[in-house]
């Protein structure tokens, strides 16, 4: 089985079938690539600032010395300018590889939980999209109102499909929702100020397909499915018994973090949300005797 990591650096999408051991190894390399990109990005940023200052100084020298020969002018200006262009290109290249840590951290933590109920050599499908949430391909709505430029993005960045030890199959799709509002506003003093606001959320659609016998038991109950309890910032948006699966759709309001429980200020835990979703659905499904 070839590693989905092989194509990752071109596409920033980690996609394919893998095992728990394969994922752990790839997650370690993903983290390492990301940390390297973060370090290089900082380095190139400061290098570019330094070269920019040198270029500004060179421009000053050239302006102050009008009698400088043309060849010398080219060297004094051309050298730092070329370095700056190279630096900007390098910065843009590594910036692209500097991805959101929280995404692969969340997947890693979730798989750590699910691994307890999966066979050690179980394979599963994963599609982990690490392109930025504001990537052009994820833009959904652009509009303008009262001077605000409004952009809405929907980013289905995670798909996970696998089988658990009780022979049930699960399929999880996670989407980021982001709304950005930007405007230029003239202050009382006549200065132009740029304002930006954002609303964020995370939605998850979890489908669990147990074996036919347990599904039959669930159907035979014939009553409305009791709504699972989700963390405070989350909301059940839909719960239904499809022909072959239990489907739970939930929404988590706010800026999310991967860590469970005690996350930073103004952040909500996506791991708690996804954990509660899985637990909630499994409370509905009759357990199989083994």
């Amino acid at each position: 089985m070839s590693s989905p990591l092989l194509t990752y650096q071109q596409s920033l999408v980690y996609e394919g079938d893998t095992t728990l051991a394969g994922w752990r190894e790839d997650a370690r390399r993903l983290r390492s690539l990301d940390l390297r990109a973060e370090r290089l990005r900082r380095q190139w940023l400061w290098t570019n600032v330094a070269v920019g200052l040198v270029l500004a100084f060179a421009i000053f020298i050239v302006i102050a010395n009008e009698d400088l020969p043309r060849g010398a002018r080219s060297v004094v200006l051309g050298f730092p300018a070329t370095l700056l262009v190279i630096g900007l290109i390098r910065h843009a290249t590594v910036k692209r590889l500097d991805v959101e840590n929280r995404r692969y951290e969340l997947v890693d933590a979730l798989l750590g939980l699910l691994a307890r109920d999966m066979a050690k050599d179980a394979t599963f499908f994963i599609r982990l999209d690490l392109l930025p949430p504001t990537h052009e391909s994820k833009a959904r709505v652009r509009s303008e109102r009262d001077g605000w430029n409004i952009s809405a993005y929907t980013d289905p960045w995670l798909t996970l499909r696998g089988r658990l030890l009780d022979d049930s199959r699960f399929s999880l799709t996670v989407r980021d929702h982001l709304q950005l509002r930007k405007r230029w506003k003239k202050t009382a003093r006549g200065k132009l100020k740029h304002k930006e606001k954002r609303r964020e959320g995370l939605s998850a659609s979890l489908k669990v397909r147990p074996d036919e016998a347990r599904l039959g038991t669930l159907r035979a109950r014939g009553e409305a499915l009791p709504r699972p309890k989700l963390p405070e910032a989350a909301q059940v948006e839909g719960l239904r018994l499809d022909e072959d699966a239990v489907v739970l759709e939930g929404y988590l309001r706010g800026r999310w973090a991967a860590a469970p429980g005690g996350v930073g200020e103004a952040e909500v835990s996506a791991l708690d949300f996804l954990t509660a979703s899985f637990v909630g659905v499994y409370r509905l499904i009759p357990q199989r005797r083994r």
Partner: protein, 112 residues
């Protein structure tokens, strides 16, 4: 960690979502029920080794083991009923930016 060479295979069945046989090697015995437990299913409580099943029965299990993966499915895990506006950000969120009554968000420049 004190290994118990007589423990044998892990006898605990607790999982994250549902119980199932454990493939781990026993490293100790539960001080309450005597069951052999592996590293994952062994929980220390006041100097005693407990299996997951016995640890879940402790009156203060929620505070002791609340963040542990094997305890997340316990009834006391869920924080409470869901609250909030289900339509805060849904498929129609593009339209919701045009909803009347959202003027405070539109005009409040202080919180960017």
């Amino acid at each position: 960690m004190v290994l118990d060479p007589t423990a044998g295979g892990c006898g605990e069945r607790a999982g994250f979502l549902f119980p199932h046989p454990c493939e781990g090697e026993g490293v100790a015995r539960c001080d309450d029920c005597g069951k052999a437990v592996c590293v994952d299913h062994r929980h220390g409580a006041d100097g005693r080794d407990l299996c997951t099943t016995c640890a879940r029965k402790l009156p203060d299990a929620a505070t002791r083991f609340g963040g542990h993966p094997l305890f997340l499915a316990a009834p006391w895990y869920v924080s409470g009923p869901s609250t909030g506006d289900p339509h805060d950000f849904t498929e129609s969120d593009g339209a919701s930016t045009l909803t009347e009554g959202d003027e405070a968000f539109e005009n409040d420049l202080g919180a960017s």
